[in-house]
Symmetry: C2
Subunit: 214 residues, 2 copies
DNA sequence: CTAATTCCTGACCATTTGGTCAAATTAACG
DNA sequence: CGTTAATTTGACCAAATGGTCAGGAATTAG
């Protein structure tokens, strides 16, 4: 954006819209993550996207609409992770894959995770219906899968619901609290190797914790 | 405030100040929790404390000062929990007590927990020095304790740092995401019994997960 | 080329914001 | 009681906020 080179060749009207919306959404995500819906201002978002505020309002008429789009995108990413927890017979394989996927998303998408946290803290004014439908259904079906593992003696009789909360909490933590973790890491972000260790540790403790025998 | 009975006997000037500050701080905590520092407004806080905005500014000259006080109080509560993780020889006893204490705080003080989360998400503009000093020192000393347990073969060789993050994440999750949990619980808050189960589950999985043999 | 369509943006506006202030009220104290 | 100090509050202000709009610039269609 700071570079004024207009790549004239591919600049069609359609492309312009697509690219600008993407830039704005990315800027919006980081501002909403940092300040919440109410604390975020459209001028901050516009500034972070390197466009005039009026231009932002051309693409997204209201702050609400922009926020909704951001939250929607995050929910779609979440759905993607949910898919990786398939109806598998082997708890080790299924859980390892799921935790890994969620940890990867936390690392690659820390801002989205924070927006989600903020939204829940505000008691989900925008996504309450998702929680009550999609999330609830998904959770119930996974609880059933976990319960089956228990009945088959593949894992210890833990309460499936709370096992899920545990997994969600760790993955969420590495995104939302990465500043705290970074500070305790001497002011430098976790390296890829460190993050891998964090991932392995989480998987190891949880799998061992529920008695998933290797 | 809504009741006009002036309890003349105990209404000394000192008491008035003390009580008003307490009321304001409580209101501020819940508003800051819900909207973050930037999203919170002094009139919302004043309204929730049932006093005129000008009166709030009489006790706390700026929003900053009020926020600082709120965050300070939360940090002190955190220190209280930290104490319960003493330099104990028995990992089962020490960790059980610590996790239990943190879970209790999450239940009794969900607003404070959310303010903390918001502050960290904003990259700790107010408490960065606490993180770098008090929290860092405390963490390092506990890492040493856990490492000793490992060296003595009392628990599996997990990375102590990441074990702490795991504990923090669950306790934080039950406070910050209680709305989501409530929604998945059919719209009703977790009962005391359910919360006890959550606590037991977390303790069980973590202790088993690190191989702390009973 | 021209006309239609989309994109861009400085200037503007009503409302909300954090914070002030002077005047009124209440309590404390001798 | 009367004087002093603390508390309360409606009215007010400058700055910031979400959003609008008219008119200009660029692209596309015919």
């Amino acid at each position: 954006m700071s570079k004024p080179e207009k790549v004239a060749k591919t600049t069609s009207k359609a492309k312009i819209r697509q690219e600008n919306e993407k830039t704005i959404l990315k800027a919006a995500e980081s501002v909403f993550a940092e300040f919440g819906f109410r604390g975020a201002t459209t001028s901050m978002i516009a500034e972070r996207a390197n466009i005039p505020k009026a231009n932002l309002h051309y693409y997204f008429p209201t702050k609400q609409a922009l926020y909704r789009q951001v939250v929607d995108n995050i929910f779609n990413i979440w759905l993607q992770a949910a898919d990786s927890f398939d109806d598998c017979d082997d708890p080790i394989e299924a859980l390892t894959r799921y935790i890994e996927k969620k940890m990867d998303i936390s690392r690659e998408n820390p801002m989205g995770s924070k927006v989600w946290a903020n939204e829940i803290i505000r008691r989900a004014p925008v996504i309450q219906d998702y929680l009550e439908t999609t999330l609830k259904d998904w959770t119930e079906s996974r609880v059933a899968v976990i319960q089956r593992w228990i009945d088959q003696g593949k894992i210890n009789p833990v309460d499936p619901q709370y096992l899920l909360y545990m997994i969600w909490s760790i993955t969420q933590h590495y995104a939302d609290f990465n500043h705290q973790i970074e500070t305790l890491n001497g002011g430098t972000p976790l390296s890829d190797a460190q993050y891998q260790t964090a991932k392995d540790n989480a998987i190891e403790i949880i799998l061992t914790g529920i008695g998933a025998h290797k």
